[in-house]
Protein backbone atom coordinates (compact mmCIF):
# COMPACT_ATOMS: atom_id res chain seq x y z
CA UNK A 1 0.00 0.00 0.00
CA UNK A 2 1.21 3.44 -0.83
CA UNK A 3 0.38 6.10 1.64
CA UNK A 4 -0.80 9.52 0.65
CA UNK A 5 2.53 10.98 1.63
CA UNK A 6 4.46 8.80 -0.77
CA UNK A 7 2.15 9.55 -3.65
CA UNK A 8 2.59 13.24 -3.05
CA UNK A 9 6.34 13.03 -2.77
CA UNK A 10 6.80 11.36 -6.14
CA UNK A 11 6.23 14.16 -8.64
CA UNK A 12 8.16 16.64 -6.53
CA UNK A 13 11.10 14.27 -6.44
CA UNK A 14 11.05 13.91 -10.18
CA UNK A 15 11.21 17.62 -10.83
CA UNK A 16 13.99 18.39 -8.39
CA UNK A 17 15.66 15.05 -9.07
CA UNK A 18 16.62 15.99 -12.60
CA UNK A 19 20.26 16.79 -12.05
CA UNK A 20 22.25 19.38 -13.93
CA UNK A 21 23.97 16.65 -15.88
CA UNK A 22 20.71 15.02 -16.88
CA UNK A 23 19.39 18.34 -18.07
CA UNK A 24 22.46 18.91 -20.21
CA UNK A 25 22.14 15.45 -21.73
CA UNK A 26 18.50 16.18 -22.43
CA UNK A 27 19.26 19.40 -24.23
CA UNK A 28 22.04 17.65 -26.15
CA UNK A 29 19.54 15.20 -27.58
CA UNK A 30 18.02 18.17 -29.29
CA UNK A 31 21.12 20.21 -30.01
CA UNK A 32 23.33 17.57 -31.60
CA UNK A 33 20.68 16.16 -33.99
CA UNK A 34 19.67 19.68 -34.93
CA UNK A 35 23.27 20.57 -35.83
CA UNK A 36 23.63 17.35 -37.86
CA UNK A 37 20.40 17.95 -39.74
CA UNK A 38 21.12 21.61 -40.42
CA UNK A 39 24.63 20.62 -41.48
CA UNK A 40 23.20 18.11 -43.91
CA UNK A 41 20.83 20.68 -45.37
CA UNK A 42 23.68 23.18 -45.68
CA UNK A 43 26.01 20.68 -47.32
CA UNK A 44 23.42 19.51 -49.82
CA UNK A 45 22.45 23.06 -50.73
CA UNK A 46 26.04 24.11 -51.37
CA UNK A 47 27.45 20.76 -52.51
CA UNK A 48 29.24 22.10 -55.61
CA UNK A 49 30.99 24.75 -53.51
CA UNK A 50 32.04 22.47 -50.67
CA UNK A 51 32.97 19.25 -52.40
CA UNK A 52 36.69 19.19 -53.25
CA UNK A 53 36.17 17.01 -56.36
CA UNK A 54 33.61 16.09 -58.92
CA UNK A 55 31.85 13.06 -57.35
CA UNK A 56 32.07 10.96 -60.49
CA UNK A 57 35.58 11.98 -61.49
CA UNK A 58 37.85 8.90 -61.47
CA UNK A 59 41.52 8.95 -60.52
CA UNK A 60 42.63 5.55 -61.73
CA UNK A 61 46.12 5.90 -60.29
CA UNK A 62 44.88 6.71 -56.82
CA UNK A 63 42.41 3.91 -56.17
CA UNK A 64 41.49 2.68 -52.69
CA UNK A 65 43.53 5.32 -50.93
CA UNK A 66 42.90 5.29 -47.15
CA UNK A 67 41.65 8.38 -45.33
CA UNK A 68 44.21 11.10 -44.67
CA UNK A 69 44.42 10.34 -40.96
CA UNK A 70 45.49 6.76 -41.63
CA UNK A 71 48.71 5.23 -42.73
CA UNK A 72 49.18 5.69 -46.44
CA UNK A 73 46.49 8.35 -46.74
CA UNK A 74 47.06 11.74 -48.29
CA UNK A 75 45.51 15.08 -47.42
CA UNK A 76 44.40 15.23 -51.03
CA UNK A 77 41.57 12.85 -50.23
CA UNK A 78 40.43 13.43 -46.68
CA UNK A 79 38.22 10.33 -46.48
CA UNK A 80 40.12 8.33 -49.05
CA UNK A 81 39.07 7.08 -52.46
CA UNK A 82 36.99 4.15 -53.68
CA UNK A 83 37.75 1.34 -56.11
CA UNK A 84 37.58 3.73 -59.05
CA UNK A 85 39.66 6.39 -57.39
CA UNK A 86 36.67 8.71 -56.71
CA UNK A 87 36.90 11.01 -53.73
CA UNK A 88 34.70 9.57 -50.97
CA UNK A 89 34.08 12.90 -49.24
CA UNK A 90 32.84 14.51 -52.44
CA UNK A 91 30.67 11.52 -53.18
CA UNK A 92 29.18 11.64 -49.71
CA UNK A 93 28.41 15.34 -50.04
CA UNK A 94 26.62 14.78 -53.33
CA UNK A 95 25.09 11.55 -52.07
CA UNK A 96 23.52 13.43 -49.15
CA UNK A 97 21.87 15.62 -51.72
CA UNK A 98 20.17 12.63 -53.30
CA UNK A 99 19.19 11.02 -50.00
CA UNK A 100 17.76 14.22 -48.60
CA UNK A 101 15.86 15.32 -51.69
CA UNK A 102 14.38 11.88 -52.27
CA UNK A 103 13.23 11.52 -48.68
CA UNK A 104 11.90 15.08 -48.40
CA UNK A 105 9.91 14.69 -51.61
CA UNK A 106 8.57 11.32 -50.51
CA UNK A 107 7.65 12.76 -47.11
CA UNK A 108 5.80 15.66 -48.66
CA UNK A 109 3.88 13.40 -51.00
CA UNK A 110 2.97 10.87 -48.33
CA UNK A 111 2.08 13.60 -45.84
CA UNK A 112 -0.13 15.29 -48.44
CA UNK A 113 -2.01 12.13 -49.38
CA UNK A 114 -2.22 10.93 -45.78
CA UNK A 115 -3.55 14.25 -44.49
CA UNK A 116 -6.25 14.56 -47.12
CA UNK A 117 -7.34 10.98 -46.58
CA UNK A 118 -7.15 11.21 -42.80
CA UNK A 119 -9.18 14.41 -42.56
CA UNK A 120 -11.76 13.21 -45.09
CA UNK A 121 -12.04 9.88 -43.32
CA UNK A 122 -12.36 11.32 -39.84
CA UNK A 123 -14.61 14.24 -40.68
CA UNK A 124 -16.98 12.68 -43.20
CA UNK A 125 -17.17 9.33 -41.44
CA UNK A 126 -19.62 6.62 -42.42
CA UNK A 127 -18.88 4.73 -45.62
CA UNK A 128 -16.13 7.10 -46.72
CA UNK A 129 -14.38 6.41 -43.46
CA UNK A 130 -14.84 2.67 -43.80
CA UNK A 131 -13.51 2.64 -47.34
CA UNK A 132 -10.50 4.86 -46.70
CA UNK A 133 -9.55 3.04 -43.52
CA UNK A 134 -9.72 -0.39 -45.20
CA UNK A 135 -7.47 1.08 -47.88
CA UNK A 136 -5.11 2.20 -45.12
CA UNK A 137 -5.21 -1.26 -43.57
CA UNK A 138 -4.26 -2.77 -46.91
CA UNK A 139 -1.41 -0.30 -47.40
CA UNK A 140 -0.15 -1.04 -43.91
CA UNK A 141 -0.24 -4.79 -44.38
CA UNK A 142 2.03 -4.73 -47.47
CA UNK A 143 5.77 -5.03 -46.90
CA UNK A 144 6.77 -1.54 -48.04
CA UNK A 145 10.32 -2.26 -49.15
CA UNK A 146 9.25 -5.25 -51.21
CA UNK A 147 6.68 -3.23 -53.11
CA UNK A 148 9.22 -0.48 -53.63
CA UNK A 149 11.67 -3.04 -55.04
CA UNK A 150 9.05 -4.50 -57.37
CA UNK A 151 8.23 -1.03 -58.59
CA UNK A 152 11.81 0.00 -59.17
CA UNK A 153 12.45 -3.18 -61.10
CA UNK A 154 9.23 -2.86 -63.05
CA UNK A 155 9.39 0.81 -63.93
CA UNK A 156 13.15 0.97 -64.18
CA UNK A 157 15.43 2.82 -61.80
CA UNK A 158 15.55 6.59 -61.62
CA UNK A 159 15.09 9.50 -59.25
CA UNK A 160 11.31 9.70 -59.61
CA UNK A 161 10.88 5.95 -59.48
CA UNK A 162 12.52 5.94 -56.06
CA UNK A 163 10.37 8.84 -54.88
CA UNK A 164 7.26 7.10 -56.16
CA UNK A 165 8.27 3.75 -54.68
CA UNK A 166 8.81 5.30 -51.26
CA UNK A 167 5.54 7.23 -51.43
CA UNK A 168 3.20 4.52 -52.61
CA UNK A 169 2.54 3.01 -49.19
CA UNK A 170 4.04 5.56 -46.82
CA UNK A 171 0.85 7.62 -46.49
CA UNK A 172 -0.91 4.97 -44.42
CA UNK A 173 0.72 6.01 -41.15
CA UNK A 174 -0.35 9.61 -41.68
CA UNK A 175 -3.91 8.85 -42.63
CA UNK A 176 -4.40 6.62 -39.59
CA UNK A 177 -3.06 9.19 -37.12
CA UNK A 178 -4.72 12.21 -38.72
CA UNK A 179 -8.04 10.41 -38.91
CA UNK A 180 -7.97 9.94 -35.16
CA UNK A 181 -7.33 13.65 -34.67
CA UNK A 182 -10.01 14.64 -37.16
CA UNK A 183 -12.49 12.34 -35.46
CA UNK A 184 -11.86 14.08 -32.15
CA UNK A 185 -12.04 17.55 -33.70
CA UNK A 186 -15.22 16.81 -35.64
CA UNK A 187 -17.15 16.61 -32.40
CA UNK A 188 -15.54 19.66 -30.88
CA UNK A 189 -17.61 22.72 -30.11
CA UNK A 190 -15.73 25.01 -32.45
CA UNK A 191 -16.51 22.81 -35.43
CA UNK A 192 -20.17 22.89 -34.42
CA UNK A 193 -19.88 26.66 -34.08
CA UNK A 194 -18.44 26.87 -37.60
CA UNK A 195 -21.38 24.85 -38.87
CA UNK A 196 -23.76 27.14 -37.03
CA UNK A 197 -22.08 30.08 -38.76
CA UNK A 198 -22.80 28.54 -42.13
CA UNK A 199 -19.31 27.35 -43.05
CA UNK A 200 -19.40 24.54 -45.62
CA UNK A 201 -17.99 21.08 -44.90
CA UNK A 202 -15.02 21.69 -47.20
CA UNK A 203 -14.40 24.99 -45.44
CA UNK A 204 -14.51 23.31 -42.05
CA UNK A 205 -12.04 20.63 -43.12
CA UNK A 206 -9.60 23.20 -44.53
CA UNK A 207 -9.95 26.03 -42.08
CA UNK A 208 -10.87 24.36 -38.84
CA UNK A 209 -9.66 20.76 -38.85
CA UNK A 210 -6.42 21.10 -40.80
CA UNK A 211 -4.74 23.82 -38.68
CA UNK A 212 -5.46 21.74 -35.62
CA UNK A 213 -3.74 18.63 -36.95
CA UNK A 214 -0.61 20.42 -38.19
CA UNK A 215 1.15 19.66 -34.91
CA UNK A 216 0.66 15.93 -35.29
CA UNK A 217 1.59 16.20 -38.94
CA UNK A 218 4.92 17.89 -38.25
CA UNK A 219 5.78 15.27 -35.64
CA UNK A 220 5.12 12.35 -37.97
CA UNK A 221 6.99 14.08 -40.79
CA UNK A 222 10.09 14.60 -38.67
CA UNK A 223 9.97 11.03 -37.43
CA UNK A 224 9.69 9.89 -41.04
CA UNK A 225 12.89 11.61 -42.22
CA UNK A 226 15.08 8.89 -40.76
CA UNK A 227 12.87 6.09 -42.06
CA UNK A 228 12.83 7.53 -45.56
CA UNK A 229 16.59 8.03 -45.71
CA UNK A 230 17.05 4.48 -44.52
CA UNK A 231 14.60 3.13 -47.11
CA UNK A 232 16.26 5.10 -49.88
CA UNK A 233 19.66 3.78 -48.82
CA UNK A 234 18.31 0.25 -48.76
CA UNK A 235 17.00 0.58 -52.29
CA UNK A 236 20.27 2.06 -53.49
CA UNK A 237 22.26 -0.60 -51.68
CA UNK A 238 20.26 -3.24 -53.50
CA UNK A 239 21.10 -1.51 -56.76
CA UNK A 240 17.54 -0.45 -57.56
CA UNK A 241 17.77 3.10 -56.33
CA UNK A 242 19.28 6.04 -58.12
CA UNK A 243 21.29 4.61 -61.04
CA UNK A 244 25.10 4.86 -61.12
CA UNK A 245 27.22 6.90 -61.41
CA UNK A 246 25.10 9.36 -59.37
CA UNK A 247 26.30 8.81 -55.81
CA UNK A 248 23.92 7.90 -53.04
CA UNK A 249 24.87 6.73 -49.57
CA UNK A 250 23.22 3.37 -50.01
CA UNK A 251 24.97 2.62 -53.29
CA UNK A 252 28.28 3.77 -51.81
CA UNK A 253 27.97 1.24 -49.00
CA UNK A 254 27.19 -1.33 -51.65
CA UNK A 255 30.20 -0.28 -53.78
CA UNK A 256 32.60 -1.03 -50.96
CA UNK A 257 31.17 -4.44 -50.23
CA UNK A 258 33.87 -6.35 -52.10
CA UNK A 259 36.68 -4.29 -50.62
CA UNK A 260 35.67 -4.54 -46.98
CA UNK A 261 38.86 -6.47 -46.14
CA UNK A 262 41.33 -4.11 -47.79
CA UNK A 263 39.50 -0.77 -48.04
CA UNK A 264 36.98 -0.64 -45.21
CA UNK A 265 36.54 3.13 -45.56
CA UNK A 266 34.62 2.90 -48.81
CA UNK A 267 31.58 1.43 -47.07
CA UNK A 268 32.12 2.67 -43.56
CA UNK A 269 31.92 6.44 -43.99
CA UNK A 270 28.64 6.51 -45.94
CA UNK A 271 27.36 3.92 -43.47
CA UNK A 272 28.19 6.20 -40.55
CA UNK A 273 26.51 9.08 -42.36
CA UNK A 274 23.29 7.08 -42.80
CA UNK A 275 23.37 6.03 -39.16
CA UNK A 276 23.97 9.55 -37.87
CA UNK A 277 21.27 11.18 -39.98
CA UNK A 278 18.67 8.53 -39.23
CA UNK A 279 19.44 8.79 -35.54
CA UNK A 280 19.29 12.57 -35.67
CA UNK A 281 15.97 12.47 -37.48
CA UNK A 282 14.52 10.16 -34.85
CA UNK A 283 15.84 12.19 -31.93
CA UNK A 284 14.57 15.39 -33.47
CA UNK A 285 11.15 13.86 -34.07
CA UNK A 286 10.99 12.63 -30.49
CA UNK A 287 12.04 16.01 -29.20
CA UNK A 288 9.43 17.92 -31.18
CA UNK A 289 6.78 15.41 -30.15
CA UNK A 290 7.64 15.69 -26.46
CA UNK A 291 7.73 19.46 -26.63
CA UNK A 292 4.49 19.95 -28.50
CA UNK A 293 2.29 17.03 -27.59
CA UNK A 294 3.43 14.55 -24.97
CA UNK A 295 0.17 12.62 -25.37
CA UNK A 296 1.55 11.17 -28.60
CA UNK A 297 4.35 9.29 -26.85
CA UNK A 298 2.68 5.99 -27.65
CA UNK A 299 3.35 6.62 -31.34
Amino acid sequence: MTTLGEVRAKPAKRISGLSRGARIVRSLTFFVPMVIMLGLVFITLFAPLIAPYDPIEQHMLERRLPPSFFEGGTTKYILGTDHLGRDILSRMIYGGRVSLSVSLLAIMITAGIGTVMGIASGYIGGRTDGFLMRLTDIAMSFPGLLIAMLLSVGVGPGFWTVVFALSILGWAGYSRMIRGEALRLRNSDFVMQARVNGVSNIGIMFKHIFPNVVNTLIIIMTLQIGMMILAESALSYLGIGIPAPTPSWGSMVSDGRNDLDRAWWISTFPGIAIGLVVLSGNFLGDWIRDKTDPRLRRL
Binding site: F190, V196, G198, V199, P211
Partner: protein
Protein backbone atom coordinates in the same frame (compact mmCIF):
# COMPACT_ATOMS: atom_id res chain seq x y z
CA UNK B 1 -47.52 44.04 -32.68
CA UNK B 2 -44.24 43.53 -34.39
CA UNK B 3 -43.59 41.15 -37.18
CA UNK B 4 -43.25 37.39 -36.64
CA UNK B 5 -39.68 36.35 -37.48
CA UNK B 6 -39.93 32.61 -37.05
CA UNK B 7 -42.93 30.34 -36.98
CA UNK B 8 -42.54 26.67 -36.18
CA UNK B 9 -45.59 24.60 -37.11
CA UNK B 10 -46.16 21.07 -35.89
CA UNK B 11 -42.47 20.17 -36.03
CA UNK B 12 -41.57 16.49 -35.76
CA UNK B 13 -37.98 15.37 -35.40
CA UNK B 14 -36.97 11.77 -34.90
CA UNK B 15 -33.78 9.87 -34.33
CA UNK B 16 -33.68 6.48 -35.95
CA UNK B 17 -31.77 4.10 -33.74
CA UNK B 18 -31.46 0.35 -33.46
CA UNK B 19 -34.06 0.41 -30.72
CA UNK B 20 -36.56 2.13 -33.02
CA UNK B 21 -37.73 5.63 -33.79
CA UNK B 22 -37.11 8.12 -31.02
CA UNK B 23 -39.52 10.98 -31.41
CA UNK B 24 -37.41 13.67 -29.79
CA UNK B 25 -39.65 16.49 -30.99
CA UNK B 26 -43.25 15.48 -31.49
CA UNK B 27 -45.48 18.19 -32.87
CA UNK B 28 -44.00 21.40 -31.55
CA UNK B 29 -45.47 24.75 -32.61
CA UNK B 30 -44.47 28.23 -31.55
CA UNK B 31 -43.46 31.58 -32.96
CA UNK B 32 -41.12 34.45 -32.12
CA UNK B 33 -41.58 38.09 -32.96
CA UNK B 34 -39.07 40.77 -33.72
CA UNK B 35 -37.45 42.16 -30.52
CA UNK B 36 -38.97 39.35 -28.51
CA UNK B 37 -37.38 36.64 -26.42
CA UNK B 38 -39.11 33.31 -26.40
CA UNK B 39 -37.97 30.89 -23.74
CA UNK B 40 -38.10 27.13 -24.10
CA UNK B 41 -37.96 25.49 -20.68
CA UNK B 42 -37.85 21.87 -19.72
CA UNK B 43 -35.87 19.08 -18.15
CA UNK B 44 -32.81 17.55 -19.78
CA UNK B 45 -33.75 15.33 -22.68
CA UNK B 46 -37.15 16.89 -23.32
CA UNK B 47 -36.18 17.99 -26.82
CA UNK B 48 -35.17 21.62 -26.31
CA UNK B 49 -31.80 21.34 -28.00
CA UNK B 50 -33.16 19.09 -30.73
CA UNK B 51 -35.75 21.75 -31.51
CA UNK B 52 -32.96 24.30 -31.84
CA UNK B 53 -30.86 22.03 -34.04
CA UNK B 54 -33.91 21.30 -36.19
CA UNK B 55 -34.39 25.01 -36.82
CA UNK B 56 -30.72 25.27 -37.79
CA UNK B 57 -31.09 22.05 -39.83
CA UNK B 58 -27.97 20.74 -38.11
CA UNK B 59 -29.17 17.38 -36.86
CA UNK B 60 -26.59 14.64 -37.05
CA UNK B 61 -27.29 12.75 -40.26
CA UNK B 62 -28.20 9.98 -40.85
CA UNK B 63 -29.57 9.36 -37.35
CA UNK B 64 -31.69 12.48 -36.89
CA UNK B 65 -34.28 13.78 -39.33
CA UNK B 66 -37.13 16.25 -39.47
CA UNK B 67 -40.08 14.01 -40.23
CA UNK B 68 -42.78 16.63 -40.50
CA UNK B 69 -43.89 20.19 -39.98
CA UNK B 70 -42.79 23.59 -41.13
CA UNK B 71 -40.17 26.06 -39.98
CA UNK B 72 -41.14 29.35 -41.55
CA UNK B 73 -38.68 32.20 -41.45
CA UNK B 74 -40.08 35.42 -42.90
CA UNK B 75 -42.21 33.58 -45.45
CA UNK B 76 -39.73 30.82 -46.39
CA UNK B 77 -40.08 27.27 -45.16
CA UNK B 78 -36.61 26.12 -44.10
CA UNK B 79 -37.38 22.40 -44.04
CA UNK B 80 -37.26 21.73 -47.82
CA UNK B 81 -34.36 24.13 -48.49
CA UNK B 82 -31.25 22.75 -50.17
CA UNK B 83 -28.12 22.38 -48.06
CA UNK B 84 -26.46 25.26 -49.87
CA UNK B 85 -29.39 27.63 -49.40
CA UNK B 86 -29.65 26.61 -45.77
CA UNK B 87 -25.98 27.44 -45.27
CA UNK B 88 -26.68 30.96 -46.43
CA UNK B 89 -29.31 31.26 -43.69
CA UNK B 90 -27.01 30.03 -40.95
CA UNK B 91 -24.96 32.81 -39.47
CA UNK B 92 -26.63 35.35 -41.77
CA UNK B 93 -30.32 35.11 -40.80
CA UNK B 94 -30.21 32.71 -37.85
CA UNK B 95 -27.34 32.50 -35.41
CA UNK B 96 -26.83 30.22 -32.51
CA UNK B 97 -24.84 30.30 -29.32
CA UNK B 98 -23.94 26.81 -28.23
CA UNK B 99 -24.24 25.23 -24.83
CA UNK B 100 -20.59 25.62 -23.95
CA UNK B 101 -19.30 28.82 -25.51
CA UNK B 102 -16.01 28.38 -23.65
CA UNK B 103 -14.83 25.80 -26.14
CA UNK B 104 -16.62 27.09 -29.24
CA UNK B 105 -13.64 29.14 -30.33
CA UNK B 106 -11.02 27.55 -32.54
CA UNK B 107 -7.75 27.66 -30.57
CA UNK B 108 -5.58 28.35 -33.62
CA UNK B 109 -7.24 31.57 -34.81
CA UNK B 110 -7.33 35.06 -33.36
CA UNK B 111 -10.59 36.60 -32.22
CA UNK B 112 -10.61 38.96 -35.20
CA UNK B 113 -10.09 36.08 -37.58
CA UNK B 114 -12.99 34.10 -36.21
CA UNK B 115 -15.47 36.94 -36.27
CA UNK B 116 -14.17 37.87 -39.71
CA UNK B 117 -14.86 34.38 -41.03
CA UNK B 118 -18.59 34.82 -40.64
CA UNK B 119 -18.55 38.34 -42.03
CA UNK B 120 -16.52 37.38 -45.10
CA UNK B 121 -18.72 34.36 -45.69
CA UNK B 122 -22.03 36.15 -45.67
CA UNK B 123 -21.39 39.73 -46.63
CA UNK B 124 -19.70 40.85 -49.81
CA UNK B 125 -17.62 43.47 -48.02
CA UNK B 126 -14.44 44.92 -49.46
CA UNK B 127 -11.38 43.89 -47.45
CA UNK B 128 -10.87 47.24 -45.77
CA UNK B 129 -14.44 47.15 -44.45
CA UNK B 130 -14.12 43.80 -42.70
CA UNK B 131 -12.10 45.04 -39.75
CA UNK B 132 -14.45 47.92 -38.89
CA UNK B 133 -17.32 45.42 -39.05
CA UNK B 134 -15.49 43.10 -36.64
CA UNK B 135 -14.80 45.96 -34.24
CA UNK B 136 -18.40 47.02 -34.43
CA UNK B 137 -19.64 43.59 -33.40
CA UNK B 138 -17.15 43.53 -30.52
CA UNK B 139 -18.51 46.93 -29.46
CA UNK B 140 -22.06 45.60 -29.62
CA UNK B 141 -21.06 42.97 -27.06
CA UNK B 142 -19.49 45.73 -24.94
CA UNK B 143 -16.00 44.31 -25.15
CA UNK B 144 -13.50 46.86 -23.88
CA UNK B 145 -10.73 47.93 -26.29
CA UNK B 146 -11.95 45.95 -29.29
CA UNK B 147 -8.95 47.03 -31.36
CA UNK B 148 -6.53 45.11 -29.14
CA UNK B 149 -8.96 42.24 -28.73
CA UNK B 150 -8.75 41.50 -32.46
CA UNK B 151 -5.26 40.04 -32.23
CA UNK B 152 -5.87 37.91 -29.14
CA UNK B 153 -6.07 34.16 -29.19
CA UNK B 154 -8.88 32.42 -27.27
CA UNK B 155 -6.48 31.05 -24.64
CA UNK B 156 -5.52 34.60 -23.70
CA UNK B 157 -9.08 35.46 -22.72
CA UNK B 158 -11.09 34.87 -19.58
CA UNK B 159 -14.21 32.73 -19.71
CA UNK B 160 -16.53 35.73 -19.65
CA UNK B 161 -14.63 37.39 -22.48
CA UNK B 162 -14.72 34.26 -24.60
CA UNK B 163 -18.44 34.14 -24.03
CA UNK B 164 -18.77 37.65 -25.37
CA UNK B 165 -16.60 36.91 -28.36
CA UNK B 166 -18.89 33.98 -29.20
CA UNK B 167 -21.78 36.42 -28.91
CA UNK B 168 -19.96 38.82 -31.24
CA UNK B 169 -19.56 36.06 -33.82
CA UNK B 170 -23.24 35.24 -33.56
CA UNK B 171 -24.25 38.89 -33.98
CA UNK B 172 -21.61 39.77 -36.58
CA UNK B 173 -24.00 39.59 -39.53
CA UNK B 174 -26.93 41.11 -37.63
CA UNK B 175 -29.13 38.01 -37.80
CA UNK B 176 -32.92 38.27 -37.49
CA UNK B 177 -33.01 35.37 -35.05
CA UNK B 178 -30.61 34.27 -32.36
CA UNK B 179 -30.92 30.88 -30.71
CA UNK B 180 -29.16 30.62 -27.38
CA UNK B 181 -28.90 27.08 -26.08
CA UNK B 182 -28.31 27.30 -22.33
CA UNK B 183 -25.53 29.87 -22.72
CA UNK B 184 -25.62 30.83 -19.06
CA UNK B 185 -25.38 27.36 -17.58
CA UNK B 186 -21.58 27.40 -17.40
CA UNK B 187 -21.43 30.87 -15.82
CA UNK B 188 -21.52 31.91 -12.21
CA UNK B 189 -24.43 33.95 -10.94
CA UNK B 190 -22.81 37.39 -11.21
CA UNK B 191 -21.61 36.92 -14.77
CA UNK B 192 -24.94 35.34 -15.63
CA UNK B 193 -26.80 38.47 -14.60
CA UNK B 194 -24.40 40.63 -16.62
CA UNK B 195 -24.78 38.41 -19.63
CA UNK B 196 -28.56 38.58 -19.50
CA UNK B 197 -28.46 42.36 -19.25
CA UNK B 198 -26.13 42.38 -22.23
CA UNK B 199 -28.59 40.39 -24.32
CA UNK B 200 -31.39 42.76 -23.45
CA UNK B 201 -29.22 45.63 -24.59
CA UNK B 202 -28.33 43.89 -27.86
CA UNK B 203 -31.96 43.15 -28.50
CA UNK B 204 -32.87 46.81 -28.01
CA UNK B 205 -30.21 47.88 -30.47
CA UNK B 206 -30.76 45.30 -33.18
CA UNK B 207 -34.39 44.14 -32.77
CA UNK B 208 -33.17 40.56 -32.98
CA UNK B 209 -35.63 37.84 -32.04
CA UNK B 210 -34.19 35.45 -29.45
CA UNK B 211 -35.07 31.86 -28.67
CA UNK B 212 -33.64 31.19 -25.25
CA UNK B 213 -33.32 27.57 -24.24
CA UNK B 214 -32.88 26.88 -20.56
CA UNK B 215 -33.88 24.61 -17.73
CA UNK B 216 -33.83 27.46 -15.27
CA UNK B 217 -37.12 29.22 -14.59
CA UNK B 218 -35.20 31.92 -12.75
CA UNK B 219 -33.45 32.91 -15.98
CA UNK B 220 -36.77 32.79 -17.82
CA UNK B 221 -38.29 35.25 -15.39
CA UNK B 222 -35.47 37.73 -15.95
CA UNK B 223 -35.09 37.45 -19.65
CA UNK B 224 -38.03 36.09 -21.62
CA UNK B 225 -41.19 37.77 -22.88
CA UNK B 226 -42.99 34.54 -23.57
CA UNK B 227 -42.29 30.95 -22.56
CA UNK B 228 -42.99 27.50 -23.90
CA UNK B 229 -42.75 24.65 -21.42
CA UNK B 230 -41.56 21.45 -23.01
CA UNK B 231 -42.08 17.95 -21.74
CA UNK B 232 -41.08 14.71 -23.51
CA UNK B 233 -40.98 16.23 -26.99
CA UNK B 234 -44.08 18.40 -26.74
CA UNK B 235 -44.77 21.96 -25.69
CA UNK B 236 -47.36 21.55 -22.97
CA UNK B 237 -47.95 25.20 -22.21
CA UNK B 238 -47.16 28.51 -23.89
CA UNK B 239 -47.82 31.85 -22.28
CA UNK B 240 -46.43 35.31 -21.64
CA UNK B 241 -43.87 35.04 -18.83
CA UNK B 242 -45.80 37.18 -16.37
CA UNK B 243 -48.91 35.11 -16.84
CA UNK B 244 -47.20 31.77 -16.55
CA UNK B 245 -45.78 32.73 -13.19
CA UNK B 246 -49.09 34.21 -12.03
CA UNK B 247 -51.41 31.49 -13.26
CA UNK B 248 -49.73 28.35 -14.58
CA UNK B 249 -52.37 26.07 -16.10
CA UNK B 250 -50.48 22.84 -16.66
CA UNK B 251 -49.58 20.77 -13.59
CA UNK B 252 -46.06 20.31 -14.98
CA UNK B 253 -45.56 24.06 -15.30
CA UNK B 254 -46.64 24.72 -11.75
CA UNK B 255 -44.46 21.87 -10.53
CA UNK B 256 -41.45 23.33 -12.35
CA UNK B 257 -42.08 26.79 -10.98
CA UNK B 258 -42.41 25.36 -7.50
CA UNK B 259 -39.06 23.62 -7.83
CA UNK B 260 -37.20 26.91 -8.20
CA UNK B 261 -35.51 27.80 -4.92
CA UNK B 262 -36.74 31.13 -3.61
CA UNK B 263 -35.23 33.42 -1.04
CA UNK B 264 -38.57 34.66 0.27
CA UNK B 265 -39.77 31.21 1.29
CA UNK B 266 -37.64 29.97 4.12
CA UNK B 267 -37.65 26.77 6.15
CA UNK B 268 -39.31 24.77 3.43
CA UNK B 269 -38.02 21.74 1.68
CA UNK B 270 -37.52 22.36 -2.01
CA UNK B 271 -40.31 20.89 -4.08
CA UNK B 272 -39.40 18.13 -6.50
CA UNK B 273 -41.39 16.22 -9.10
CA UNK B 274 -41.65 12.52 -8.38
CA UNK B 275 -40.52 10.00 -10.99
CA UNK B 276 -38.75 10.44 -14.26
CA UNK B 277 -39.70 11.60 -17.74
CA UNK B 278 -40.94 8.73 -19.94
CA UNK B 279 -38.65 6.99 -22.40
CA UNK B 280 -39.20 8.50 -25.82
CA UNK B 281 -39.06 4.99 -27.27
CA UNK B 282 -41.96 3.86 -25.15
CA UNK B 283 -44.40 6.69 -24.55
CA UNK B 284 -47.50 6.33 -22.39
CA UNK B 285 -50.75 6.31 -24.42
CA UNK B 286 -52.39 9.36 -22.87
CA UNK B 287 -50.89 12.57 -21.55
CA UNK B 288 -47.12 12.18 -21.30
CA UNK B 289 -47.04 13.74 -17.89
CA UNK B 290 -49.86 11.59 -16.49
CA UNK B 291 -47.61 9.01 -14.74
CA UNK B 292 -46.01 11.77 -12.69
CA UNK B 293 -49.03 14.04 -12.39
CA UNK B 294 -50.62 14.36 -8.96
CA UNK B 295 -54.01 15.30 -10.35
CA UNK B 296 -54.22 12.83 -13.28
CA UNK B 297 -57.55 11.22 -14.06
CA UNK B 298 -58.46 8.18 -16.16
CA UNK B 299 -58.92 10.27 -19.32
CA UNK B 300 -55.38 11.59 -18.88
CA UNK B 301 -53.98 8.08 -19.01
CA UNK B 302 -55.97 7.07 -22.09
CA UNK B 303 -56.09 10.01 -24.45
CA UNK B 304 -53.70 12.77 -25.35
CA UNK B 305 -55.07 16.14 -24.30
CA UNK B 306 -55.83 18.68 -27.06
CA UNK B 307 -54.28 22.12 -27.09
CA UNK B 308 -56.68 24.65 -25.59
CA UNK B 309 -56.47 28.39 -25.95
CA UNK B 310 -57.09 30.07 -22.63
CA UNK B 311 -56.68 33.58 -23.98
CA UNK B 312 -53.97 36.18 -24.40
CA UNK B 313 -51.59 33.95 -26.34
CA UNK B 314 -51.86 31.40 -23.59
CA UNK B 315 -52.31 27.80 -24.75
CA UNK B 316 -52.17 24.66 -22.72
CA UNK B 317 -52.55 20.93 -23.34
CA UNK B 318 -54.26 19.44 -20.32
CA UNK B 319 -57.56 17.68 -19.74
CA UNK B 320 -58.20 19.64 -16.60
CA UNK B 321 -58.34 22.91 -18.48
CA UNK B 322 -61.59 23.64 -20.24
Amino acid sequence: MSEIVLQVENLHTSFFTRGGEVKAVDGVSFFVRESETFGIVGESGCGKSVTALSIMRLLQEPGGRITGGKIIMEGTDLVPLSKKKMRAYRGRMISMILQDPMSSLNPVYTVGNQIGESIRLHQALPDNMVEPAIIESLRLLKIPTPETMLGNYPFQLSGGMRQRVVGAIAMSCRPRLLIADEPTTALDATIQAQYIALFEDIQKKTNVAIIFITHDFGVVAKMCHRVGVMYAGKIVETAPTREIFKAPQHPYTSALINSVPRLDRKDERLFSIEGQPPSLLNLPPGCRFAPRCTVARDTCRQQEPPEVNVGNEHTVSCWRVK
